[in-house]
């Protein structure tokens, strides 16, 4: 069940290449009141470059923890995480994250928030400014460059956070339920945008979500986690047909399969 999985690329080219992200037998425990509580257990997952991986699982099953390990924010775990065949040791410019809350700095303008991601890039000021403008355009917020986060709606703020994550052109984009707090309509629209943007940038994406429809619609592959401790229950490839049409039989079938794995029984029909 935990066998390494090579996610299919959008254009079917399942060569035996080295995975871009290789998670091997990762287990993680937190010590709470002197007692070690296992949060992730023996997670193994291989992700091809350019793949879009959706991760679903009950609340508290360790999804954010897994992303923090991939980011290198927490290095206290068992197992191995390799990026491009090198072990992760700390945050790096090739990885970016959109947190569950937008986490914009309220005292900086939209453009300064996005620009903060480029301070480490070595680009000069003019190039940074151009990169910021480009990415604000990408998320459709070029008119709000000088606005402050408090002047934005939740959906707009989340789009700024996406622009900030993309600004440095990361090869790995980690998305921790970025659309979870939005209303259904905005969410649908941002799902389209996210799909388009990630394809456009050619990054490898890991999307954590509680929305099974979103997982199936955006992912090339859906990883289902079981809780306590968090472990991989299934890795399900998403057929092209399901990714392009939310009402296709393939979509409905896969969604029902995922719901079933999550313990939500569902009668077809």
């Amino acid at each position: 069940m935990n066998a390494p999985f090579a996610a299919p690329s959008p254009a079917p080219a399942p060569h035996a290449r080295r995975p871009a992200l290789d998670i091997r037998n990762v287990s993680k425990a937190f010590v709470v009141n002197g007692e070690a509580i296992e949060v992730l257990s023996n997670i193994s997952l291989a992700v091809e470059a350019g793949a879009f991986v959706s991760i679903v699982g009950a609340s508290g099953c360790g999804k954010s923890t897994l992303l923090r390990l991939i980011l290198g924010l927490d290095r206290d775990y068992a197992g191995e995480i390799r990026l491009d065949d090198r072990p992760v040791d700390g945050p790096g410019p090739e990885r970016a994250i959109v947190f569950q809350e937008h986490r914009l700095l309220p005292w900086l303008t939209v453009e300064a928030n996005v620009g903060a991601a480029l301070l480490h890039s070595g680009l000069d000021k003019a190039m940074r400014r151009r990169a910021v403008a480009e990415h604000l355009e990408l998320v459709g917020l070029e008119a709000f460059a000088k606005a402050y986060p408090a002047q934005l709606s939740g959906g707009m703020a989340q789009r700024v956070a996406i622009a900030r994550a993309l600004a440095n052109r990361p090869r790995f984009l980690l998305l921790d339920g970025p659309l979870g707090a939005l209303d259904a309509l905005t969410r649908l629209r941002l799902q389209e945008e996210l799909k388009r943007i990630v394809a456009h940038e050619g990054s490898t994406a890991l999307l954590v979500t509680h929305d099974v429809d979103e997982a199936v619609y955006l992912g090339h592959v859906v990883v289902v986690l079981h809780p306590r401790p968090g472990r991989i229950a299934a890795v399900l490839p998403v057929p092209e047909e399901a990714r392009s049409d939310r009402s296709s039989p393939a979509f409905v079938a896969l969604r029902d399969r995922v719901l079933e794995l999550l313990g939500v029984t569902r009668r077809t029909g």
Binding site: P93, L105, W107
Partner: protein, 282 residues
């Protein structure tokens, strides 16, 4: 002021319930700053009336309590022929020099304490102990080190201003929400960019509380230093002169000037704080 700190730590979560209350409070304060409140003048007027009555009805001998009019007259003659304006200038110069030195040192050390856990562990307890020392206990030592003249006075004012600023800055910067620190790590911000873009803005409400305290402490220290150290040009010197030569009108004038300037400083700080709150909750 602690309200602002709470608002800050809530803001990353941005849950509607958490952000609603502080912003409404901020709005109330913003309007409060625009519409002047005349009520404090009532008690001021009452006091003035009492003063007139006490003097003119002979409740207190004129030797001990001048007429308010005599104080105004003394002010006029001082302005025309005396030195009170020069004294005032001297006092303010001393006050602002000490304040600037103390606040700058407090900001620098507070930032260092907040950023480096090692420095916090080594120097922190000493800073906390220093805060527990009653301010005026420093006077004899500083007089020995720096003399009782201008340098000693400024040193004392600087020590007074230093205390609240170092504590506020230290606390503010070490209490930057973990979510922002994590973000800074992910964005690979250099230490300097972290201080500039994340730590200082996030700590600003607490730093400001410290600066506000410094303004008041430094003013108290200015009065104290001019009274306890050598007599030299300055309002405190005139205060001494008033009591020693029994020039009761001068004594009252000096006290009033001290009070008015203190009041002015406090109002200034409150205005600045209202602006800051608006900027911060924007």
């Amino acid at each position: 002021m602690s309200i602002d700190a709470t608002a800050r730590s809530d803001s990353p979560a941005d849950s509607p319930a958490a952000s609603l209350a502080p912003s409404r409070r901020a709005t109330a304060r913003r309007y409060g700053a625009l519409r002047p409140d005349w009520r404090p003048l009532a008690s001021f007027g009452a006091l003035l009336a009492l003063w007139f009555a006490a003097h003119h009805l002979g409740w207190i001998a004129a030797k001990y309590l001048p007429s308010p009019l005599a104080v105004v007259e003394r002010l006029m003659s001082e302005i025309r022929t005396g030195t009170i304006l020069d004294d005032l200038q001297e006092t303010l110069r001393r006050n602002l020099s000490g304040l600037a030195i103390g606040a700058a040192a407090g900001l620098a050390l507070g930032a260092l304490l907040g950023i480096s856990t090692l420095v916090g562990r080594i120097v922190g307890p000493t800073v906390l102990a220093q805060r527990q020392t009653a301010l005026f206990a420093w006077v004899p030592l500083l007089a020995m080190w720096f003399g009782g003249g201008d340098t000693g006075k400024i040193a004392f004012i600087a020590v007074a201003a230093f205390q609240p600023v170092v504590i506020g800055t230290w606390r503010g910067i070490s209490l930057v929400p973990a979510t922002y620190r994590e973000l800074s790590d992910v964005l690979l911000l250099s230490r300097w960019n972290y201080i500039r873009l994340v730590a200082v803005p996030s700590a600003l409400p607490m730093i400001f509380t410290g600066l506000h305290g410094a303004l008041i402490y430094a003013w108290l220290a200015t009065v104290g230093s001019e009274l306890f150290l050598n007599i030299s040009p300055g309002l405190g010197g005139r205060l001494n002169q008033g009591s020693q030569l029994f020039e009761i009108d001068l004594l009252f004038l000096a006290i009033l000037l001290f009070g008015l300037i203190g009041l002015g400083y406090n109002t200034l700080a409150e205005r600045a704080e209202a602006l800051l709150v608006r900027w911060n909750s924007r």
